[in-house]
Point group: C2
Chain length 589, copies 2
């Protein structure tokens, strides 16, 4: 078998960064990005990204260790085409340290944010997009944890960043700050001496030979988890993982050539589920929006003839519940990909009736995007709407490039019964699983185990047709009188109540039952005339679920606390429930 193995021509690292140059060749004159009255073509976008990479290199962000394009070191090492040379290549990687130079960004979906998804890693640095909705204290922790030497900040977030930097200990090294201008916003102009994004680009070379990864396992992005259940952790993904998730997301959603994509999903959330690279791969148009409401979305769809958009169910909600004045007729079907939480049936009905084609998937920051999706079967089209909604709310099957997805028993590690009932932990295996958590080998080892699975921390069931359905986050399972009960199931029934706008159920400590379900409920505006009482809500549940699942406590709230991506922050509610103390005295029920 001599001479048959990785060789100089086939072992070149894969990276989603390669998509940009190809698209600039094929679609160079076509629009790449639109933002207010700003519009770029793909050849302009390529040149701006190369300028950025070049300028960052000049700033010394990616230390002198720049790798020439041709021949790249692993290739020149792989002179003989055999496994031995593969080994040799690995040895060479061990010898050198891994480059890890993060550049952080605090920005909404503006053009610079899109360009950074290429320009920053093209300089050899690691891109760290920061959730803009975090507080200054948390951001200051993240920036110090990542040891970012440079931070790009949107002009409107400059005051936030100033607060962040004030929280740095006196001894801590402060990152260099570059402000991203926005001609469409009424903000104080940056000091004329200050380095701004556009000034920085001017110093860069648009013909820069960008820094290819030495290995496809080289880190490319750092994303802190949104922290629904715990403190943020720094998820690191490599070029290989991001290549796979990007390709897989295009195939899974059947994205055609040249889509028009509306940026309703923040790019700072798991890199917009990989679509910054995906839309470049497809040669599409990125319609950027700094902020949006239902009217802005409908207007953008009409103006730009949007074909695709992503968002948490809260975005679907927005579309479905838009007042008539905000709504506009669609020019054709608009594909909407949703994830983060199962879309409620009522919202699905309404958005689909309006002409949105909703797809539902499931992924985590740790998988860089959609790892599982509810692949739709043609025969389901003939089912009644409620049945279709029930099926579409399931998370689904592994995406094509994933190796495996399963629901396993935490004790035995065996697959749970395919009965749609037996709960277990959802586990995943595939090329898009993270390298690990930054500076946290313990958390990494807990999530990625020697049995070959990434443990998601989500509790689910496997249906007879091998579709996975999430029942809860592990931490959200309520154990009442020894029964495990899924807070999501209770919430689904609460969402069915005509007056309920949003609902979250958490455990409330109980001396007798251990825990009891406690429901936090937000009501619809139109229900304000005759709002339901707590006991009416409880009665609604009692008619529709087993007794042990019925919330013992109902709390009405104008709005529930949410993460930046619209997920309800259960840990906040859990704290509130804890502070209420024991709900029911022993013997009361």
């Amino acid at each position: 078998m001599d001479g048959l193995g990785p060789n100089a021509a086939n072992s070149c690292p894969v990276t989603p960064l390669e998509f940009l140059e190809r698209t600039a060749t094929v679609y160079g004159d076509c629009p790449s990005l639109v933002y207010n009255r700003t519009a770029f073509t793909w050849s302009q976008t390529l040149r701006r990204c190369l300028r950025l990479a070049s300028a960052l290199s000049s700033l010394g962000i990616s230390p002198g260790d720049v790798v020439p394009l041709q021949p790249p070191p692993p290739v020149s090492i792989l002179r003989s085409v055999s496994l031995k040379s593969h080994l040799f290549c690995c040895l060479s990687l061990l010898r050198d340290s891994i480059l890890f130079d993060p550049v952080s960004v605090l920005a909404p979906n503006v053009p610079a944010m899109y360009e950074m998804h290429f320009g920053v890693p093209m300089s050899g640095a690691v891109l760290n997009t920061v959730n803009l909705r975090l507080d200054a204290r948390t951001i200051s922790i993240l920036l110090r944890h990542s040891a970012s030497k440079l931070v790009f900040v949107d002009v409107l977030s400059r005051p936030l960043l100033d607060d962040v930097l004030r929280l740095f200990p006196a001894s801590a090294e402060r990152p260099r700050v570059v402000t991203i201008e926005d001609p469409y916003e009424d903000a104080p102009p940056p000091q004329s001496s200050a380095l701004t994004y556009e000034k920085l680009l001017e110093t860069g070379d648009p013909e820069f030979r960008w820094v290819r990864p030495r290995s496809e396992w080289d880190p490319m992005v750092l994303n802190y988890t949104s922290g629904t259940t715990s403190a943020p952790k720094g998820v690191v993904h490599c070029h290989r993982g991001l290549f796979f998730i990007t390709i897989d997301s295009l195939i899974d959603w059947s994205v055609p050539r040249r889509p028009t994509y509306l940026w309703t999903l923040p790019m700072f959330h798991a890199n917009g589920w990989s679509y910054p690279w995906g839309i470049a791969a497809a040669g599409g148009v990125n319609v950027c929006l700094r902020r949006f409401d239902a009217a802005a979305i409908y207007a953008a769809i009409e103006t730009h003839r949007v074909t695709h958009m992503c968002g948490a169910p809260v975005v679907l909600n927005m579309l479905a519940n838009a007042p008539d004045s905000a709504r506009r007729p669609l020019h054709g079907p608009v594909q909407v990909l949703t994830a983060g939480a199962p879309p409620p049936a009522a919202v699905l009905h309404r958005t689909e009736a309006l002409g949105f084609a909703v797809s539902h998937g499931y992924g985590l920051t740790e998988t860089a995007g959609m790892a599982v999706s509810c692949a739709w079967k043609g025969q389901w089209d003939r089912l009644p709407a409620s049945e279709r909604a029930r099926l579409k709310a399931r998370q689904g099957v592994r995406c094509l490039a994933m190796t495996a997805a399963d629901v396993i028993d935490g004790e035995t590690g065996e697959s749970v019964k395919r009965d749609g009932n037996t709960m277990g932990e959802i586990v995943l295996r595939g090329a898009c699983v993270m390298l690990g958590y930054l500076k946290d080998p313990e958390a990494t080892a807990k999530a990625v185990r020697a049995d070959g699975w990434f443990y998601t921390g989500d509790v689910g069931v496997m249906h007879a047709d091998e579709y996975i359905e999430i029942k809860d986050r592990s931490k959200d399972v309520i154990i009442s009188g020894g029964e495990n009960l899924s807070s999501v199931e209770v919430e689904t029934i609460l969402y069915g109540h005509p007056a309920v706008n949003e609902a979250a159920v958490v455990a409330r400590p109980d001396e007798f039952w251990g825990e009891t379900p406690c429901a936090f409920v937000g009501l619809k505006e139109e229900a304000s005339a005759a709002p339901p009482t707590k006991s009416e809500v409880i009665a609604w549940c009692r008619e529709r679920m087993p007794h042990y699942m019925v919330p013992k406590t109902v709390v009405f709230r104008a709005e529930l606390p949410k993460t930046s991506t619209g997920k309800i922050q259960k840990y906040v509610l859990r704290e509130m429930a804890k502070e209420m103390g024991s709900a029911v005295r022993p013997g009361r029920m």
Copy 2:
């Protein structure tokens, strides 16, 4: 950076074999394959492939070295998530020998042929599909070269295989033979004691845990090159390479979910450009045809509502020149992917006018399928037909998952000028490039060089818009009076002659000029009433090309010799031209 590297959950080998199980989950009840009155669903196809893999394992084809699914060895070794463990994994691969147990198949596009693309590698064996149009002597050389222990043979090819085996030296070990039955063919039934394909499947376990590759670099298929220019060489591809080409071919051709694919391209030609795995990935329908002419293709398109098909330009020719009696109106656009030679303008016009949407790509057995494709730009739609045909005849740009494609100067290794004129060798780099040629490290080293390029042996130019166009195979370049001239350019002009059906131009030795162009020409049937003379053909050329390019010799032939995939065998013509001797005496011109 501790703990950030390949780990147990993300370093699992990728393989296109994984697509089958997913599709059986999602589209289990949907048709997978149709052949005459035989039809299977995807869950049946999965079970048949697993039976095949299981039965092959039982036959000892894949030696006892079966790898359990969970945890696979590289994963259990990768207990610590670091580059060190990646190294460890590589070491373990070095320690063991690579499995390489080829199973050969001689069959047309029948269901068994499709199933073998999964079932054979799922047993851990390497699939070797043999070109059915080769002669017995060549096949006997290939079977001995590959050391196949088992050969599947279509019932109608059994006499050919008997001839092949008679050519084995007495001392040589003969492979086991399994005949593939065909209830639709009038063939002598196999002896009742003989092992047949269906009998073998019956012995297999449809719940077999198939043999996952230990590494994504493990060999999966062995394909002998069609030999347009030299003796066949055994190209070996690994799971990783085939995964990439399959995904890339789906994206590049924008294959939607659930296509209906007509098998006009033989699967024994570079595994049907990866579409056996691709159609499984997309959950489509495979319409199998043992043999076809224009009427059979039009009938199949109508009956099965075919959406996609592949073929060399000769298939396009067939569609375009079909008599009215064979032609049927199309139900909608039919996507046709062509490669192997640029589609002639006249053929493009006619097929597109009939409703076929033609895409053109370029690949080699060594890239397992399409590596470059003529990505179409919207603005080209507005050009006149002749201009569109000229643009579509170009090979194009690298496909998305390829790393690089270029045209370089053979001497300096530098990119040639982007002027559409300067000829150089087309070189490629990407994950789908072969591992190498079986038992031929010298040929491997010549094709895959330390500079990181795979040398295609094709001569081309790079246009200003960075689209590659093939001008010739290196061996087909004619050097006349010191001028390099492209035989393809001369052929293109010959194809423009209204009476010419096919044309090939090769070098004829010449004492004075070194070489002169010699044209072999096949005329259209309708030209038989008043065929052009040789001097009329020469005059046609003289009006349209530089003097030195004009063929000095014209030979009319009823049909030109072709490979199984419809490529004209220039080496046969070159031999004929050589035998003619010097064409023109010094001083005659």
